[in-house]
């Protein structure tokens, strides 16, 4: 089995593993991290696809991954902030009711 096949298989496994955790877990932070792991799996598959044993690597998937990393960071920041806002609203409401 070549290195390329190994990395492709591991990337796909990582994607489904992250997706499974994201679907089943209830904690928001773990959900966000799980989606990030799924995204990392996708990037790994793309990078493995770019490799070729005889010719130089394909730059197009590399550029896509570079773009994807920044966009996934933006999406993560948004998701974490939304999750924190939800939690803060819940806690704040509960505390006010108790007082």
């Amino acid at each position: 089995m070549s290195e390329q096949a190994l990395y492709t298989a591991l990337g796909i496994a990582l994607f489904w593993l992250g997706l499974y955790r994201a679907v089943t877990v209830t904690s928001m932070l773990i959900k966000v991290v799980a989606y990030n792991i799924a995204g990392a799996g996708t990037f790994m598959v793309l990078i493995a696809t770019a490799y070729s044993p005889t010719e130089p690597a394909d730059p197009v998937p590399h550029a896509i991954v570079l773009t994807g990393i920044v966009v996934s960071l933006a999406a993560t920041a948004l998701a974490v902030l939304l999750a924190l806002r939800c939690q803060r609203e819940d806690n704040g409401g509960g505390r006010h009711n108790n007082d």
């Binding site: 489904w16 932070l29 730059p59 773009t67 966009v71 933006a74 948004l78």
Partner: protein
Amino acid sequence: MIPTGAIRKKTAHLKNRVIAAGFTGFCLFSIIVALSTQPIHPARDLVYSMLNQSGVENPVTAVLLNFRGVDTLLELVAIYVVLVTVSALSFNRLDSIRCVHSDTVLRGLTNIVAPVTFVIAIYLLYNGTRLPGGAFQAGALLAALLGLIAFSGHHHLAQERVLSRIGMVSGLVVFSLTGLSVYSDAQSFLTYPPVYATSLILTIEIVATVSIALTLGRYISALPQSQVSL
């Protein structure tokens, strides 16, 4: 009689197992499909044959900022749209970050790390035309530095509201204006003439680095500093 909580727990457990079995099946199926097909590279030869006209030596930078410049422009739009939402949801104001965990160790570490990170970011940016590196790597590194500086209680130039906002939109504005300025005599949007390509790409990269660093740094400094338990 079995309590309903136990039944619900058991059903949830069973549901998770069914999902896990389904996902394992999908996973094996996609691995088999992926490994039985050979990846094709339809655009690689095109990129390498046009590389000498792109103005840069690194093929990834050529794809990002010349051949598929529209994608990078749209990416800057995407992080800017997220920035607007993040600013609305932010826990800290940009110009007055209340520093909860300000301690001597963090401050000392920041004092040592900041200049080194700055130099490495400049090196990465400068490298982008020849070797792996460029605006995104340098921008991400500087953004991490901005987050560290903000949470260590130091004040820096990027916390000036007007300056920071100008920096954040500058990448988008300069990129669009460059694209429009070459939008003449039967050239399409963002098609640089090969003579000016290197200087245009370098200008865009420098401005995009500032823009990405400030925007991503704002994402980090928007997070609360205490009582985080999700």
